[in-house]
């Protein structure tokens, strides 16, 4: 019990010395460090690419491409935030770009599934390595 109380007290003390959530938010706004986001988006991008290359099912391939798109979106947002802090004049472009990418991704999804449906109705399969009528 005693240790628990001590712990809670020290935690509260530290919390008191710690800047408040709002200050941290404002301070984050000022010197944001985008590198962590970059690493994350790179990882997502690699995963997406791996998915496209390896997976057999077309729908999974399609999802991994969407993954790659989202990685790009993450990048845009991260850089937008960074350039906002630098006082770049057009920092908001990053956000606008993300919106458009999402719109385009949606269009792609609709269209892709339509094509997949037509293919499935015709060939009874959605495995990427079975659709190899066109070769040589």
């Amino acid at each position: 019990m005693m240790t628990f109380l001590a712990l809670a007290a020290s935690w509260a003390a530290r919390q008191a010395s710690e800047p408040s959530l709002m200050e941290r938010y404002v301070q984050g706004l000022k010197e944001v460090d985008a590198s962590k986001f970059l690493v994350l988006s790179a990882i997502i991008f690699s995963l997406g690419m791996g998915g496209v290359l390896i997976r057999r099912n077309i729908i999974v391939i399609f999802m991994s491409v969407e993954l790659m798109l989202s990685a790009a979106n993450l990048n845009f947002i991260a850089f937008a935030r960074y350039w906002q802090t630098q006082g770049g004049l057009y920092a908001y472009n990053g956000h606008v770009m993300t919106i458009f990418v999402i719109v385009v991704a949606a269009a792609e999804a609709a269209l892709g599934l339509g094509l997949l449906l037509a293919l499935y109705r015709n060939r009874e399969t959605i495995a990427a390595d079975e659709i190899n009528l066109l070769k040589w």
Binding site: A34, V39, A42, Y82, A128, D129, I131, L133, W136
Partner: protein, 769 residues
Amino acid sequence: MYLVALVPFFPLLGFIVNGLFAKRLGFSEKVIGAIACAMVAASFVCSAAAVYEFSRHARDNKVQAAAKQREAELQARILGQGVAYDAKTDTKREAPEHKSDDHKEGAHEVVATPYVVTLFEWMPGGTLRLTLGASAGQTAEFSVKWAYQLDQLSGLYILFVTFVAFFIHLFAIGYMHGDPSFHRFFAYLNLFMFMMLNLVLGANFLMTFVGWEGVGLASYLLIGYYLKKPEAGTAAKKAFVMNRVGDFGLMLAMMATFAVFGTLDYADVMAMAKALPQEPFGLAALSFTTGTLTVIALLIFLGAAGKSAQIPLYTWLPDAMAGPTPVSALIHAATMVTAGVYLVARCNPLFQRAPTAMLTVAVIGIATAFVAATIGITQTDIKKALAYSTVSQLGYMFVGCGVGAFVAGVFHVVTHAFFKAQLFLGSGSVIHGGSPSGHQQEMTYYGNFRKYMPITFATMMLSLFAICGIIPFAGFFSKDEILAKTLHTPVFSHEVGLALYALGFLTAGVTAFYMTRLMCLTFFGKERFLEGPDFQEGHSEDHGDGHHAPASKDFHPHESPLVMTLPLMVLGAFAVVAGFAGVSEELTGGAFPNYVHHWLAPVMDATLYPEKPVAGVNWTEWLLAGASVVWALVMMGLAYFLYVIRPELPEKLAQTLRPLYTLSYRKWFWDEFIDVYLVGAFKKLSLGAWGVDFVVDSIVNLFAWLARASSVIFRTVQTGLMQNYALVMALGIFLFIAGMGYPLFKELFMPTDRPSPPPTPQTSRAAQP
């Protein structure tokens, strides 16, 4: 003086008329024959007139002075002294009087005064640069004129050529009677005359070359006249190709002459040649730098050997007998084959300055004489025997030229033309009358024809004595002079002269032997003409015109009509008379002038080997002449004994001297050597050569196959699997990054030049922006 240009024109006219219009206008044989003979006669008359006019022109001293002046300038130019001389416009700038002291005055001032008629500029060729000899570096103009040159040598030639040709044409009318393409034969004969006259009258090497190849063409057409005889075609081709080998040499000689003298005109070249020094003897002279003239002379001799059938290139002449007999008489006895001697005589200044060449000419001449004579012994075909005798006599002429006695060589040409043409025509009438088919040439089926052909027999006996060199006949004077000059030749050492004389003496004997053998087999001895193939069953005529029924047994040879015997008689007479034109002054001690010698003196260069004045009758000459006559009579007697009195003896002799017999019968294996080794090997080589073509082709097709193979690879790489495509894309991206990134990576992380703290290793994509 323009008659000279007319001399070759008439035969050309005859060729055109007979060749193109005779068949179309349906001329009869008589008309065609008349036109042909008329044309030759006309050209004979023109040449006689031209020669007469020329002889007057030559003696005129104004002309001689001008000629000497021009000769002096040319010699100065060739030696490169400062004579400003503009060859083209003939204007002579100031010419220092160039008196060369070493130029000894001959017996009387002898200067070549050729009369040149230029019709038009035949072949301009742009500027050229002299590269050999003394005047290398000068520029000259390649301009060959279509010009005729009349001087003593060509005058003599056109006279006897047209004369002999006229009678041969006359004979041919009879011999070719009944031949389907009669007009074609006479057209070709006239074409030959045109070409021969061009050869002889040509004012420069190239005009002679036109005649040279022209007569080659005419002989090709005439040898191959009997179109249906397959061996005629082969013989014609063989003759032409072998002549071309000779022409190859002559062509190179012409190019060399241009390189040394800058022009091909005989007058200029010979004048300039006289100024050049004599070249060393032996192998040193065999390069263009040291022995220019020697090499030119040798090349000219190669051309002459090809045309006049000397040792390496004589096998075509016996095969050429496949043509009709008048052709053999005209072309392969009297005129064409002597063209070689004409050219050597024409270029005597060159030859005299090239002792090595002179030796070659002499040695090859004597060798040909001996070899041909030995082969002549075992020939059974009458025309082939005569052909080998021609080759042997030509050998003699070249020996004459070789030892410096050009005049003797030329004189022998003239006399030989008469008696050899007569012999050939005689053999023609023998063939014509000797067998029912009129084409039997084998002497084994002749015998005792003197009973049936008295005129032919008589006239041929005259020629026999002439060729054997019996005293009053033409042969004696010309052949004996050659032998005499060989013995005392100033060109070589005494031993060489003696050796040549000995071999010449021996050959004369052998000639006497085989000529008498020929006469005996044909006119004396047992009548064998009934055993001939004409009388056997199943004999098919080699002219391919159908299968002959065997002739009736009571056939006997008949004499030829007058049109054939007249030429025989005329030529026979000349065979007797012609000798007296050139009686050597050694024999007569100057009492009886040697017309031929004095006539040809201006053409022959006497600067190096001046003649010794004749003291008086030279008894040693008479001794030698007598010896040769006796030797000839002995051999004739031997031949008569063997072939008439004891006809079975030759057979036994042949058995005993088996190796010698086969050597002579197989023509010293020279024919086979050429056919099997040279031509045969060449054909095999060319088949092989085609292989190289195949190899080059396959390389080209290899590239095509390579393209096709790689195309299949690239095409089948499309497996159709989408993931493969994506994989390739990913690979592409990686290569991009590696390709571009590496240098950057090197610069950033392995900085060689800038010292900077080693940054912490980070994945490329995690760099802090």
